[in-house]
């Protein structure tokens, strides 16, 4: 692995981390679309900044672009507040207009310089190592590595300092306000960080990949955990994994690095979506099947409990009485037997003591819906896990 290859992967990984942190909160605030809006509408800020400084890496450019990002959020909220259109419509109105202003500015005034719409949208990670930062004659590494590195350090610092405030205002803005943590301040703080990260990353990886790196890892992590800190760590992990594996995918296919990283993000999300332990599609299907079986079991036990007459409890008549298919009856019967809930006496089925207890408790729960008494049953039965 050459040093250029290493630098590309390092830059991609740092961008992934810097995006995953604000991205997690955007996903939780149901504001994923706003990152899309910001990533496009910073263009006029970048262009104007470039006209003033003639330097794509100038801090002023980042500042101006971040301000356009904030302007986007303000405009979206203002239009939304009129009550005439919904938030998604407001987003759809604002960012194409700002973006096209940027496009026109480039077309009119900057056609001959290295600043074009493709570069902004798609970026080119492969070129990142060629643009070096040289301090008093010494090569200290690629410029974009420094830009994104500094943004990342600031982001992590802010996250650690304001984690509690971010959490409470994201979960319950009303409480945050009544406790004195202005939700507006935190909101615009998060929007500023998102804007600055987008601007810092766009030159290296492009606006589309920034959106993908903000939303996909957080959405994937959300499927796997019920803990905010872990969600942040998982999102960072997924982002870095996709950045590096995407790089090697691009290397193997000789394709665009940003495109390959985004593809990896999609694949990883799909994988987790299918196989996640709790919320994944397969887990949900399995749970539903188990619940069906358990409901059947309970129906069967209840039948035994309610009918003392032997004709109702003869093994050969069970099908007719509960009106089930043979296969199903067999499954349920085996399940009950395995759990020592029923016993046979000359083909007559009856409840064991354990079966009696279980049925009583289960029915009690279904009627009273009181959770406390059946805590111990939750481990064995899906039915009682709410």
């Amino acid at each position: 692995m050459s040093s250029a290859q290493f630098e590309i992967q390092l830059i991609a990984s740092l961008v992934a981390i810097a995006c995953a942190i604000p991205g997690t909160f955007l996903v939780l605030r149901k504001m994923a679309m706003i990152s899309d809006a910001i990533s496009h509408s910073i263009l006029p800020g970048i262009v104007i900044g470039f006209f003033i400084t003639q330097d794509l890496n100038s801090p002023l450019l980042i500042l101006l672009a971040a301000l356009t990002g904030i302007l986007t959020v303000v405009l979206v909220e203002y239009i939304q507040k009129t009550g005439l259109v919904k938030e998604d419509t407001a987003i759809g109105l604002v960012f194409p207009i700002l973006f096209s202003i940027g496009v026109i500015l480039i077309a009119k005034n900057a056609n001959d310089v290295h600043l074009d719409v493709d570069a902004v949208l798609l970026g080119e990670l492969a070129f990142a190592p060629f643009d070096r930062l040289i301090i008093s004659g010494v090569d200290v590494g690629p410029k974009s590595l420094w830009v994104i590195g500094i943004i990342l350090i600031v982001t992590i610092g802010l996250l650690i300092a304001f984690f509690k405030e971010l959490k409470v205002s994201t979960f319950d803005a009303g409480l945050a306000a009544s406790l004195g943590f202005s939700p507006a301040v935190i909101h615009y703080g998060l929007m500023s960080v998102s804007s600055i990260t987008t601007v810092g990353a766009f030159d290296a990886v492009g606006a589309i990949l920034v959106v993908a790196l903000m939303i996909a890892p957080a959405a994937t992590a959300y499927l796997l955990t019920n803990n905010l800190k872990r969600m942040l760590l998982y999102a960072i992990g997924f982002g870095v994994f996709c950045a590096i594996s995407g790089y090697w995918l691009a290397h193997g296919l000789d394709a665009s690095i940003a495109g390959s990283i985004t593809t990896m993000l999609g694949i990883v999300f799909l994988f987790v979506y299918l196989f996640a332990h709790n919320k994944g599609v397969i887990a949900v299907l399995y749970r539903e099947k188990q619940q069906r079986t358990e409901v059947s079991l309970l129906t069967f036990l209840l039948h035994l409990k309610n009918h003392s007459e032997e004709s109702e409890r003869h093994v050969n008549h069970l099908n007719e009485h509960i009106n089930w298919q043979k296969v199903r009856s067999k499954t349920i019967l085996d399940l009950a037997l395995k759990n020592n809930m029923i016993q046979f006496d000359k083909n007559i089925v009856s409840l064991t003591e354990k079966g009696e207890d279980f049925t009583t408790q289960a029915i009690d729960y279904i009627i009273t819906n009181e959770d406390g008494k059946i805590e111990h049953m939750k481990d064995d039965f899906f039915l009682f896990r709410g």
Binding site: L28, L228, G386
Partner: protein, 245 residues
Amino acid sequence: MSKNIAVKVDDLTVAYNYKPVLWDIDLEIPEGVLMAIVGPNGAGKSTLIKSILGILKPIAGSVEIFGMSYAKQRHLVAYVPQKGSVDWDFPTTALDVVMMGTYGSLGWIKRPGQKEKKEALEALEKVGMLAFKNRQISQLSGGQQQRIFLARALVQNASIYFMDEPFQGVDATTEIAIINILKELRKAGKTVIVVHHDLQTVPEYFDWVTFLNVKKIATGPVKDIFNDDNLTKTYGINYKVSIQE
């Protein structure tokens, strides 16, 4: 009853999009009462609470908590929002939500430690939810979620408690558990203000009541002013409520 005024609202007018939802409200809530705010849908009950707490900005009027602005008296006030106002799929546990109640006294940046955790566990025990402390909040029933919110307010150890429809969507057992805690708070000298919907239970649960419908209709002791006349004025129809003595 002490004669101190816990909450004083003066000429408060609040508008959404320049359409007033609260007109010129004057209200004095004495310290140590357990007060219901009643009124029809859209009467501005939640808006009144949110304006007192500085969550909404009024277009006119002022609010005093024990004689000073809310911003100065924040530490004396706890707030229980409507259960439906938050996303219960948020990745966090019951204990963590209760801990959020301690954030106010911590202030910016400082993080909760063992002391805050201990307080949160005590509050969970008070509302009978200690066994659920590590449960993800979406795995709790509606009544349990409301108890968590109540515990979060208890942890704030405030003098005045504002609650927005704490009985909404909870079963009878939880309702009784909650009202018992509210009565205990009053016994401890706290002031409790509750947005309430069930008129039948007002005389049983509360000792003070405010009738609200965009304007203030009446405020005072339940035994003096909770009558058909005020109910009719508030709800606009001929209202009959049988008051159990």
